[in-house]
């Protein structure tokens, strides 16, 4: 042991940083994975996975790696790459108990009084921290490999930074900002009625009534209803439009037999909240669903763009109605808003 060179704080810090940089790689990869999410619910789920893996890596794997590698190989991966070895006073690897003690109680001991125990390495003739003294460990320089360790550290650092950059780039250039924008809508506590011309005279409007499904809507006399009972939907469009599904123009599409989802929900009997959660989950829905009022009805809305919106309403029999609106101009926007507001379930 007399001829051995003891590792100073710089080499030991380098080894620690190498460990950290290697350990950070799975976390940054998961960050990138989260950043490439195609909707906000998936993004939150992936962040959750990131949190789970981060805790696993930094609290559990990191500790176990330190304990077992020090016992079996004489140091953590970072130390081995730096050419350092953790040995006892006889020059042997630490026993499992000592290794455990060094990495748990020992580190805690060195941390008291603001990490003074680690700083003690600088002044100590054998470069021992308090945790080293407590277990009788010494860190020796077995091989002069610090340039290799430094290169690996830089490589992993660049790799991690690049992945982090890619993750943020993917997140900000993908659909997430739009989704976040929708999320911020929730800060709205007041209705933005100022945007809507409430002076539209609706007294002359006609009423569409569907007795089979028990709902009604009102619409201007210059507009018309194109009912396609076969498809379980109806269009409310300006009279000039002949084939709403093929022509480009302002419209409301009411889908009252929302087949696949309604059938499933009849079995499950989900509430609107639950249905909306399961509906949005895993689908590339545009925007963040949030609650809105349609008259006195509770509904969920999704703003896909400034012109397009979807509103989901559920009746007492747990049937879901989808009202999709498209406004070509501001005037139609005002009218469509008024039409949407007249949706009612009949007795």
């Amino acid at each position: 042991m007399e001829n051995k060179i003891f590792a100073g704080i710089r080499l030991r810090l380098l080894a620690s940083y190498v460990d950290l940089a290697i350990l950070a790689l799975p976390v940054t990869l998961l960050l990138w994975y989260a950043g490439t999410s195609y909707n906000i619910t998936i993004f939150v789920q992936r962040l959750f996975v990131l949190l789970i893996i981060w805790i696993l890596l930094f609290f559990i794997i990191n500790l176990l790696h330190g304990i077992f590698f020090t016992h079996y190989f004489g140091g953590t991966i970072g130390k081995l790459l730096t050419g350092l070895k953790v040995v006892n006073e006889n020059g042997n690897y630490l026993s499992l108990k000592r290794s455990f003690f060094r990495h748990t109680v020992g580190y805690q001991f060195s941390t008291i009084l603001f990490g003074l125990g680690f700083l003690a390495i600088i002044r100590d003739p054998q470069k021992q921290g308090w945790h080293d003294k407590a277990v009788g460990s010494k860190i020796i320089v077995e091989k002069r490999k610090w340039p290799v360790a430094l290169s690996i550290l830089l490589l992993f650092l660049i790799l991690n930074l690049y992945i982090i950059y890619s993750a943020f780039n993917a997140a900000f250039s993908g659909p997430l900002p739009k989704e976040f924008e929708s999320l911020t809508n929730s800060f709205q506590t007041k209705q933005k009625e100022s945007k809507v011309n409430t002076s539209i005279d609706t007294s002359t409007w006609q009423t569409y009534r569907n007795d089979e499904f028990g709902f009604e809507m009102r619409y201007p006399k210059e507009w018309k209803v194109v009912d396609s009972k076969k498809e379980g939907s109806l269009w409310i469009v300006p009279s000039a439009i002949v084939h709403p599904s093929r022509e480009f123009g302002s419209s409301i599409l009411v889908r009252y037999t929302f087949d696949e989802l309604v059938a499933k929900n009849k079995e499950k009997g989900l509430s609107l909240d639950e249905w909306m959660n399961s509906f949005a989950l895993g689908r590339n829905v545009r925007g963040v669903p949030h609650k809105v009022d349609i008259g006195n009805l509770e509904a969920y809305g999704l703003d896909a763009t400034n012109q397009e919106s979807d509103v989901y309403i559920m009746d007492e029999e747990k049937r879901v109605y989808l009202l999709s609106t498209y406004a070509r101009n501001n005037q139609d926007f005002q009218i469509l808003y008024q039409i949407l507001s007249t949706f009612r379930f009949t007795e």
Partner: protein, 336 residues
């Protein structure tokens, strides 16, 4: 001299001797700190938060509702019930339940690991401190290496002493609570009276157990370290001593508490007092108020650092006092 007439220790002498040891051997301060809890303080705050940047953030948040007036229908219809918490709860409800289960399991594993490590740490630091004190009392120079090495063999017994008796007492306390609840809810008078007597007796026993555990533990730790006895045996021997020395221990304990109060609590109260005085005098005299507040705030962080160190020294000092006291009565009261 008759042991009934001469006291086993004089508080003044204990204090003088303990102080001379603590003053000389600074390594004991470190173990004192470790036994005090080994708290590490981290004052690193993320980013450079100053009042301007906070204002900027506030302004950004305040401006959000105004900025997002785009013409989307849903926005026009108004997110009447949609608040941030609702959005977040919606987002988190989309996270599958097994993710939460994994997270909870992870956190439980981590908390349990911390508890186990904490018990080992406390046992080791106590043993190291007592070994260090003993070396000092034998005119040796204690070191981390030497004290720690000697301490390893006592960890198991000290951990037992820290965990098992409080666990038994805690269990007893729970049983007493259950008996009291039964007493309240069972309407039969004879059962009520029986349970009342039982709960009174049990409460008395628990109280006695707690008091004598605190007293016995002081000697038991020293018996474990110095006599190398098991946790159970040391506790019984410690109890015997505690029973004989109850009043002398109470007096010494009270003096220690008063000393701790003057050293630890008064500076803290003083600083907090200055801060509050600053707050309350601002209305009458703004310059004085702000000045006092600033002095209090500036002194606060150095005080936390100083108090951490002083707490460690005080801990080591009190441990030395009890160790000297134990040396004075070693083998005197713990026999059969």
């Amino acid at each position: 001299m008759d042991k009934q007439l001469s006291p086993d220790w004089e508080i003044g002498k204990l204090y003088n001797q303990a102080w001379s040891i603590i003053k000389k051997h600074k390594v004991l301060w470190i173990f004192g700190l470790a036994t005090a809890g080994g708290i590490s303080f981290n004052f690193n705050l993320p980013g450079n938060f100053d009042s301007d940047s906070i204002k900027e953030i506030q302004q950004n948040f305040q401006s959000l509702p105004e900025d997002i007036v785009s013409s989307g229908f849903i926005q026009v219809l108004g997110a009447s019930t949609s608040k941030p918490m609702e959005i977040f709860s919606y987002l988190f409800s989309a996270v599958p339940a097994y993710f939460y289960i994994i997270l909870v399991v992870e956190l439980i594993v981590i908390v349990l690991s911390f508890v186990v490590i904490g018990i080992i740490s406390k046992a080791w630091s106590t043993a190291s401190l007592l070994e260090g004190i003993q070396t000092s009392l034998s005119n040796g120079a204690p070191s981390i290496r030497d004290s720690s090495e000697k301490a390893f063999s006592h960890i198991k017994s000290l951990a037992w002493l820290q965990v098992i008796p409080p666990l038994v007492l805690g269990l007893g306390f729970i049983i007493v609570i259950i008996v009291i609840l039964l007493l309240i809810f069972i309407p039969i008078l004879i059962v009520k009276i029986s349970l009342g007597i039982l709960s009174l007796m049990a409460s008395g026993a628990i109280l006695y157990g707690v008091i004598y555990y605190i007293f016995s533990e002081i000697w038991a730790t020293r018996i474990i370290v110095l006599e190398k006895k098991s946790g159970k045996e040391s506790l019984l021997k410690g109890y015997k001593i505690a029973k004989k020395k109850t009043w002398a221990m109470t007096l010494l304990g009270l003096v220690n508490i008063i000393l701790s109060f003057f050293i630890m609590a008064i500076p803290i109260l003083l600083i907090i007092g200055i801060i509050f005085a600053g707050i309350f005098t601002t209305d009458k005299n703004e310059a004085l108020g702000v000045g006092l507040f600033a002095i209090g705030a500036i002194l606060f962080i150095p005080m936390v650092i100083a108090m951490t160190l002083i707490g460690g020294i005080l801990n080591a000092f009190k441990a030395t006092i009890w160790s000297i006291a134990y040396n004075n009565i070693r083998g005197k009261y713990d026999g059969k």
